[in-house]
Symmetry: C3
Subunit: 132 residues, 3 copies
């Protein structure tokens, strides 16, 4: 953990480099100081079809769901939500002035008891490079 799932409108790609957007959010997650960097997984999925608001135009949207391990204090979760959202907001504000956009984030918790994550060969690869 953490997992950041980004669901976005295809029309955004004309304005926003979504790979760079994911990288900015990875950096924001690492910058919170809350998560081990080698557990960060940011990914973006482009919708195949979308109808937004009144449906009168192909409006943009980015909806993000951040899943983190359960048990952290509410105030910490609020701070993380704000920092991640602010990072996304900066990117959208910088690049999407010409496209109406709705940007949203929700933070969810993952109960340790009902999750499994033991296979992680990324960690050993980073260690082998001396990168951690």
């Amino acid at each position: 953990m953490p997992h950041l799932f980004i669901d976005y409108a295809a029309g955004l790609e004309a304005y926003l480099d979504m790979g760079a957007f994911c990288a900015a959010l990875r950096d924001a997650l690492a910058g919170t100081g809350v998560f081990s960097p080698d557990g960060i997984r940011v990914r973006a999925h482009r919708a195949d079809h979308a109808v937004i608001a009144d449906g009168a135009e192909p409006y943009g949207y980015i909806d993000m769901i951040l899943r983190i391990g359960a048990g952290r204090e509410a105030a910490l979760r609020e701070r993380v939500a704000e920092e991640i959202y602010a990072a996304a907001e900066r990117e959208v504000a910088a690049h999407c002035a010409a496209l109406p956009v709705m940007l949203s984030l929700e933070v969810q918790e993952i109960a340790a008891r009902f999750s499994v994550k033991r296979l992680n060969t990324v960690r050993s690869r980073i260690d082998a490079r001396g990168g951690r």
Copy 2:
């Protein structure tokens, strides 16, 4: 809010216009009278791979997750679930008689404290058009 995430089998596209399906569900969400139309976000993501039921055929499926703000009464959430499902069911029944399909909907709540959604330039665009 609300967010309607539609996950569907590629094979459905031969029977169902998924853009029109999204539009029908947007109208159903607006028609409940529960949500502000300018907060509606309906989007559909086609699966890259799927194995359904016994896996003997490329069956169709549509699975929908509707996320709405927390705090509404249970009876209201049940009514919304029923109205949105019924709208989807009408579309599937009208167009997919030749394809076996499983259609499902789950309604989830978003806790306001752990969500952020302040950037919304769609609203001002609609206002500028005098459309709200």
Copy 3:
């Protein structure tokens, strides 16, 4: 139910046949003995963009969310999580030795009261074939 949503990195496709991976997980779900086979829906969505861990390489990841009907005992949910994860782990270990990968699974519950699923023409198709 159950619903298994698999979100994966594009780079995995060079190592892992994702259709076969879905089929293996379908068999694992059926093999738990907990679910009716004709309710199983396994699907995989390839991310369009991803930045993982330190972002230094295009690492692989597979994140799975299994949604099952609420009300089953915790010990049973833990057993199901372990069996499904183990099936995925075998596939990854067998095919992805050359690619660093993070594999994760979370089990979530679906509240019956806020879900609808009555349309299912897959079941009658299987019955018509005498396949159930």
